[in-house]
Symmetry: C2
Subunit: 303 residues, 2 copies
Amino acid sequence: MSFRLTILGTSSALPTSDRYPTAHVLNVHERLFLIDCGEGTQMQMRRYRIRFGKINHIFISHLHGDHFFGLYPLLSSFNLMGRKSPLNIYAPAPFEEMLARHLKDFDIKLGFELITHGLSGRSMKLILDDKRVQVFSFPLKHRVKTFGYLFREKEKERKIIKECVTRHKLSISEIALLKSGADIVRESGEVIINAEMTTLPPPGVSYAFCSDTAFFPKLASYVAGVNMLYHEATFGDDHETLARQTGHSTARHAAVVAREAGAGRLLLGHFSARYKSPVQLEEEARQVFPASEAAREGETYDI
Amino acid sequence: MSFRLTILGTSSALPTSDRYPTAHVLNVHERLFLIDCGEGTQMQMRRYRIRFGKINHIFISHLHGDHFFGLYPLLSSFNLMGRKSPLNIYAPAPFEEMLARHLKDFDIKLGFELITHGLSGRSMKLILDDKRVQVFSFPLKHRVKTFGYLFREKEKERKIIKECVTRHKLSISEIALLKSGADIVRESGEVIINAEMTTLPPPGVSYAFCSDTAFFPKLASYVAGVNMLYHEATFGDDHETLARQTGHSTARHAAVVAREAGAGRLLLGHFSARYKSPVQLEEEARQVFPASEAAREGETYDI
């Protein structure tokens, strides 16, 4: 049972000698979700042993190159590796026509199905609902249409109190019913009350991804109560004006969002090349929200 | 005075954990020529300390992604680094319209002039002629229109025989005339014969780049007498049929071209991911042309 995040890149648009552009891999019970796909993502996936075949969903925040220049080479590699299973791509609409045109330009004929999901709208939307996880998109505020993503593990089953199994001689089907939350009425008329047999399931964990965005108060409501918030922090306090001008955030902005949202932890990234080390950004965020840290490439975070 | 080649990538279309796709940097007396630009080229340039500002000419062999997916991110980085000087790009025509369209799709507004040179034709052509070097394009034989490139250092000046300077009391302007190949007629009527005062200049060195291509006999004539030949060697003898089917060469094919061309040395690259090490390819090439070696990433070769 896992819900963990691997960071493949922490740079903003201009990569540095030790920072790749944005790409995250979220592992939810061995389903791998790739979030943004900057140049070199597939090299980073190889370096950090991310299994290509386990990725069936790719989420692109927006169509600036540092968030998706790695997509075409990755699709090409999937192809060369003989992929057959369908691949879902989520990105701001209308990217589907552009994607098809570029694949033709690049002479890439995919041997697998590409299922495109063009995102639009100005509210939070459920875009993926599978057995274990729900994914929502929500609007960010950047120079081009940009979306954040919220990954929420589905609520687990209720937990059976062990001694009840023997005391009431519960059958396997009765246990399944109780786990799903139902009471049981036996043929004898005996009623077994769920609340006496089970305890609340552990809450599903959640991860939100916000890149790139200017600060706006409503953002905190989209990511309220999230266990881990990733938020871009392109600049520090020293370049707050530049942040506003370019549709980006400072580390302090990110921390305000985390605090307002009641997030568990804050992970910072998308650092401008002008910061040799993200220590300053980390410190500025911690002044507002102590559980802040700068993302490190190749690191895996258990959420 | 330098004429040296740095290898940034040796993989074919599918990169591996230790091989990047094709990109070469040729340094001719501190003019840097970038040849092909696969994904991650700018990361490799940083890793191997290639100076971005010294690149004014980029040569793309063909529009398959593993040879140019790194171009857009590189252009974007040039832009973010504040580049102002014009940049020349050479690639099979008509790539100019596609390039302009993609830059628009990717929201990249360049702050410097892009000078595009669309290549066409079925013969060798002089495409760049500057003070120190001439560059020629020539057709290769691949699944899409593809060009090889030949870089030829211009012939240097003749060398003055030292003792002649004092014996004939040569003035500075007379020395310059002799170096350029002229005879001298002094006001006294004395004639100074160039051939008696000078020796032949050292020949200009040359480098040829051939990727990707199927074997064809005429190729050797395009690269005749080249000091160093780079030739793709995607496959070994074990996959000669696959090489023919995909428009690629075996290491042995590359070596035949080098031998027929009378090349000084042969550098192999563009290795299929199926070869964990290129040792087999190197050995097969050496059976035909002993001065063969597998290119190594990050290595600089003096030519």
